[in-house]
């Protein structure tokens, strides 16, 4: 689950990670009030779940409270398009108003799980403020990674190691190591999947300050932190994805026209790859899960068809725990509920496949049944 910058910074404040003075605002008037309470210029930052906000015009400097009002007025209620959003952008309903800071240096620091070392790692670079992916690709020697042993947890030497790599001045070594420790506590105690500060600045006054904040919580751990569920902003999510989530379906909306319904995440991805290789484009990723029953299959089918871009549905079921006859009944139910004439290709194999095929062939659903995935390829429509 993604959090907004202002929510992440509320956590930072709680964990003693230094942040600029600031406050979130939902209206232009509120933004002006916040700016009035601060000395000098402010920065008005659109709160959306996407990076690249600066490039999209979502970060504005305001010299006066009146300018803060104007910036907030134009941002709130708009859709911000950044390199990380689609062409329709992400809705802005809040802005974060912060005191501007005179900056001496910008660093990058993050903590994330690294599956290859089976532990959290501290990732840091002296090239802060930039796209870290770009730094990693072009100058990988400018990034360091330090593993945090999960049994002992964070030790200050790890932070010092990073500080030496970054070439920090002597007087900042200890505060930096403390900051990284706080960041790890936040990561561990809240079950984060990522916490990132880009940039972590050294101000002209020589202090560390987290200018930006990215904080993603692990979905599987939300049961341990029920209060964090309230931080979810569904406005930032696709309405069909929210609906899928309520049904317990794994669904991701994409840009193509071939709706895909598959059981199992790996097989779902592999099926989408086949659609793309055939010259068509998948409209979605959808894993109905292992324990799906008839009504869940029907819901999944209707969900796929609710995307107006979909012109055709490809169903690929490998019967195991989910039997093919159950899937077949679910498809028929979904189809008759919708009353559409969507062309459907069904590929089934595994448990009770003959029964499934029989049920489908006796129904009035105009579908094409194939035994092998490759037989579906010539039947796929392009956009």
């Amino acid at each position: 689950m993604k959090l907004h910058e202002y929510q992440a910074k509320e956590f930072f404040a709680r964990y003693g990670i230094p942040i600029p003075a600031g406050k979130v605002a939902s209206t232009a008037t509120e933004a002006q009030e916040v700016a009035s309470s601060m000395k000098g210029s402010t920065v008005i930052k659109a709160q959306v779940h996407a990076g690249g906000r600066g490039k999209g015009g979502g970060i504005r400097i305001a010299a006066t409270p009146e300018e803060a009002y104007e910036a907030a007025e134009s941002l709130i209620g708009s859709h911000l398009v950044t390199p990380q959003t689609g062409p329709s952008g992400a809705p802005v309903s809040k802005v974060l108003v912060e005191q501007t800071v005179a900056i001496n240096k910008e660093l990058y620091i993050a903590i994330a799980i690294d599956g290859s070392v089976k532990a959290p790692v501290i990732i840091a670079s002296a090239s802060g403020g930039m796209d870290i992916e770009q730094v990693a690709n072009e100058t990988p020697d400018k990034i360091t990674q330090v593993r945090i042993d999960p049994t002992t947890g964070y030790q200050p030497f790890m932070g010092r190691k990073v500080a030496y790599f970054l070439g920090l001045p002597t007087e900042l070594i200890r505060p930096f190591s403390t900051l990284v420790g706080s960041l790890y506590n936040l990561f561990r105690e809240q079950d984060a999947s990522l916490v990132e500060i880009n940039p972590l600045t050294i101000t002209e006054g020589g202090e560390l300050l987290a200018l930006d904040a990215k904080f993603d919580l692990e979905d599987d751990a939300l049961n341990r932190h029920p209060q964090n569920r309230e931080l979810r902003d569904t406005e930032q999510e696709d309405p069909l994805e929210i609906q899928a989530d309520e049904y317990g379906l794994n669904y991701i909306r994409l840009d193509g026209n071939v709706g895909c319904m598959v059981n199992g995440a790996g097989l779902a991805m592999a099926t989408m790859d086949i659609v793309r290789a055939a010259g068509s484009e998948p409209a979605n990723f959808l894993d109905v899960g292992g324990g799906a029953d008839e009504s869940k299959i029907a819901q999944a089918f209707k969900l796929i068809c609710a995307d107006p871009k979909v012109t055709q549905v490809l169903i690929n079921i490998f019967g195991g725990i989910l039997r093919c006859d159950v899937a077949a009944r679910g498809i028929i139910q979904g189809y008759s509920d919708l009353n559409s004439d969507m062309p459907i290709i069904v590929r089934m194999r595994g448990t009770n496949v003959e029964e499934g095929r029989q049920i489908l062939s006796e129904s009035d659903v105009p579908l094409t049944f194939v035994n092998e995935l490759r037989e579906a390829i010539p039947l796929l429509q392009s956009k």
Binding site: Q84, A112, I113, G115, S116, K118, A119, P120, E133, A136, N137, D149, P150, T151, R188, D191, S193, E218, D219, D220, A221, N223, R224, N250, I252, L254, V262, N263, G264, A265, G266, L267, A268, M269, A270, T271, M272, D273, I274, V275, R276, A277, P282, F285, D287, G290, F318, G319, G320, I321, R349, G350, T351, E372, L373, R374
Partner: protein, 290 residues
């Protein structure tokens, strides 16, 4: 074959639950030597009138000599179940449960490091050695056949797809291992490859990876430097967009190395033969073995 064979004595943790009971039955029917079940508080009963249920893993191991466990307990108790199995002396632990918080998994995996215990999963379909009629997992048994190709995979149904194609092409399997779809798992591709390297019954390996992480690249390094047998690899998720979790907790593109193309390049460079799609895993292996 690796990890599970005719000497496997299986205990199912969570045998009295709906999932546990259903799959314990399937394993038994397949021919697995199911010796015990464990559900704390339900000790003393007989499951299906045949298999003794114990309150603890220690008791189950002491009374039955169980050496392998299969875990179906819910996510909230899964880490505890794995550690209890390890404490009782179990050497192969397959954890089917999905939804373990990653920070739980990393502690468990760190604890098992260097113990000689093989943890498969979590969030995996388990493992099967058809030649020994030994199934320790949730995969449909009837698609498998006995033979000399090892299978390692991060996914469930995609593995079944691969296995069914192999069987149809007349290529049997030594052992199929589903290592799981989480960002952190016990046994990695490389760990499983090492076991297959030393297994005289395995003549070639199918490896099925997907987007997310860099474990396929580590496997590629190992294949290049030490693995002696032919490898057919297939990577799912070429069409996956950046930053979206594709079902599995581990299947998310967070950097250039996590993409399908980066993994395919690494495996190709290591000498593996790439199956161009999920529809061509069996046929690719047929060509490699010809």
């Amino acid at each position: 074959m690796i990890l599970v064979n005719e000497n496997t004595k299986l205990v199912v943790q969570g045998i009295t639950g709906r999932e546990g009971s259903f799959h314990a039955e399937r394993c038994k029917v397949y021919g697995t030597n199911l010796v015990a079940g464990v559900t704390p508080g339900r000790g003393g009963v007989l499951w299906e009138d045949t298999v003794p249920v114990f309150d603890s893993m220690a008791e189950a191991v002491r009374e039955t000599g169980a050496n392998t466990s299969l875990i179906f307990v819910p996510a909230v108790g899964a880490a505890d179940a794995i550690l209890e199995a390890a404490d009782a002396g179990i050497k192969v632990i397959a954890c089917i449960t999905e939804g373990l918080p990653v920070q739980e998994s990393i502690k468990v995996v760190a604890h098992l490091e260097g113990s000689g215990i093989h943890l498969i999963g979590p969030n995996c379909p388990g493992l099967i050695s058809p030649g020994a009629n030994c199934k320790v997992g949730i995969m449909p048994g009837d698609i498998h056949s006995s033979g000399n190709v090892g299978v390692i995979s991060r996914s469930g149904t995609l593995t079944y797809e691969a296995v069914a194609q192999l069987t149809e092409a007349g290529i049997g399997q030594s052992t199929c291992v589903g290592i799981g779809g989480d960002p952190v798992t016990g046994t990695s591709f490389t760990d499983a490859l090492k076991l297959f390297n030393d297994d005289p019954d395995t003549h070639a390996v199918v490896m099925i990876g997907e987007i997310g992480g860099t474990r396929e690249q580590e496997a590629a390094d190992y294949i290049k430097s030490e693995f002696k047998k032919p490898v057919v690899a297939m990577i799912a998720g070429s069409t996956a967009p950046v930053g979206k979790r594709m079902g599995h907790a581990g299947a998310i593109i967070t950097g250039a190395a996590a993409t399908a193309s980066a993994k395919i390049e690494a495996l190709k460079a290591a000498g593996a033969t790439i199956a161009p799609s999920a529809a061509e895993i069996g046929s690719t292996m047929s060509k490699v073995l010809a």
